[in-house]
């Protein structure tokens, strides 16, 4: 294998449990893709999520490919049966979308980006990954995110949260203060977090 290319199987991707049976299987970060977002999502059980309910706050258009199994999408309240080989495209970022597995081991690939400007990675890639680690490793991951994207509100918020978990209250307070300056909604979220609420400015 050369640096020019990499080969792996969807089944070798890391599994990061998110919610309701959904496992995030990071592709973009694993391979260092820089021109579009792409990840896989799987659920081992029927009824588990393969796309969590969300709108695309990033403004991305998104394209989903059902690679195996069968999914049931709900798009702005409308249901769609999606066997393997189905492609679902959402040009509008504010469509509320969700998908659940109708068969065990259903796999959905997601691709996304902005139609009119260069891609840059989303902050959530780092805090999703950090969420499954002990505080020290989680802090390292959040610092990697800040090194790549610069100081962003939600990256600093999650850095502060993991620092608070690790007992580094001074660092956590400093980073939470910066996070709230950059992303005012972080204050509301911190108010509901057992580690952060006492550190709010």
């Amino acid at each position: 294998m050369s640096a020019a290319y990499e080969v792996l199987s969807l089944d070798e991707l890391d599994r990061v449990p998110v919610a309701e049976g959904l496992e995030w299987r990071p592709i973009r970060r694993r391979l260092g893709i820089r021109s579009f977002g792409t990840n896989a999502y799987t659920s081992e059980r029927v009824g588990g999520w393969v796309v969590e309910e969300h709108v695309e706050g990033s403004g991305h258009e998104e394209l989903y490919v059902v690679v195996s199994g069968r999914a049931r999408f709900t798009l702005d309240g409308e249901e769609l049966d999606a066997p393997a080989g189905t492609i679902v495209f959402l040009p509008e970022n504010d469509v509320t979308r969700k998908a659940v597995a109708e068969e065990e081991g259903t796999t959905v690939l997601a691709f996304g980006g902005w139609p009119d400007r260069p891609f840059e990675p989303s902050q959530w890639e780092w805090y999703f990954e950090a969420s499954e680690h002990e505080p020290e490793r989680a802090i390292e991951i959040m610092r990697e995110g800040i090194a790549e994207l610069g100081e962003r509100g939600w990256l600093l918020y999650e850095l502060a949260r993991h620092e608070a978990r690790a007992g580094r209250r001074d660092h956590a307070r400093e980073h939470l203060t910066k996070a709230v300056e950059l992303e005012p909604r972080a204050a509301e979220r911190a108010g509901g977090d057992e580690h952060l609420r006492e550190l709010l400015p």
Partner: protein, 213 residues
């Protein structure tokens, strides 16, 4: 534009082995298409590099079993294999090992907003031109490019191919005129022409040398 759309791969239009996902949905953020090999041994992704577009490319075997070749390395790729080609200059291609092998391909240029290739817009003339070219019918291939340019006069990819096919058809005046205009529209064509074997008949012509450097 609708708020969402869906289709099964079997319902999307095909151009030879190419399932035109990006065009079908009007995807604007990245290039994304699928390619099918109907029978074992069929070429699914023709051998090519992506220097021209500067794209990184991600391939996912959705169904069947393929053999990729990247920079001369053979890669066995059953369903669910991901092949990520980071380096645009890496020459890559794929052949089906099983009937109905389907490969999803996604690509884009890091640091740039996605733009569809001029080859996409001109596909029908390109495809017919390639068929003539492969059969050695160079004058007919050039005629296809002229027909395409009548519809898409700004398409520099059609113009470059007209230069290639005209050179092969031993029509040096038309070849040089088309190449000159293509290079004016996009100077990268000069570099491409320099090593393009289609211009072998013009290598000794000083006008060609002056044009491509």
């Amino acid at each position: 534009m609708t708020r969402w759309a869906s289709a099964h791969l079997d319902e999307i239009g095909r151009r030879d082995t190419w399932i035109t996902i990006r065009e079908h949905f009007g995807v604007r953020a990245l290039g994304i298409n699928a390619f099918v090999g109907a029978e074992a041994g069929d070429e699914i992704i023709h051998a090519h590099a992506e220097d021209w577009h500067g794209h990184e490319e991600l391939y996912v075997v959705l169904e069947g079993h393929a053999t990729f070749t990247v920079d001369g390395d053979e890669i066995d790729a059953p369903a669910r294999t991901i092949v990520y080609v980071r380096e645009p200059s890496a020459r890559r291609g794929a052949v089906a090992k099983a009937p109905g092998t389907t490969i999803l391909a996604a690509g884009g240029e890091p640091g740039a907003a996605f733009e569809p290739s001029p080859y996409d817009a001109a596909w029908q003339w390109m495809q017919r031109g390639t068929e003539h070219y492969r059969a050695g019918r160079y004058a007919e291939a050039a005629a296809e490019m002229r027909d395409g340019l009548a519809e898409l006069p700004e398409n520099s990819a059609l113009r470059y191919n007209l230069a290639c096919y005209s050179a092969l058809a031993r029509e040096p005046e038309e070849a040089l005129a088309a190449l000159r205009q293509a290079v004016e529209e996009d100077p990268r064509f000069a570099e491409l022409a320099r090593s393009d074997p289609d211009f072998a008949s013009l290598r000794e012509d000083p006008r060609f040398t002056q044009l491509v450097g």
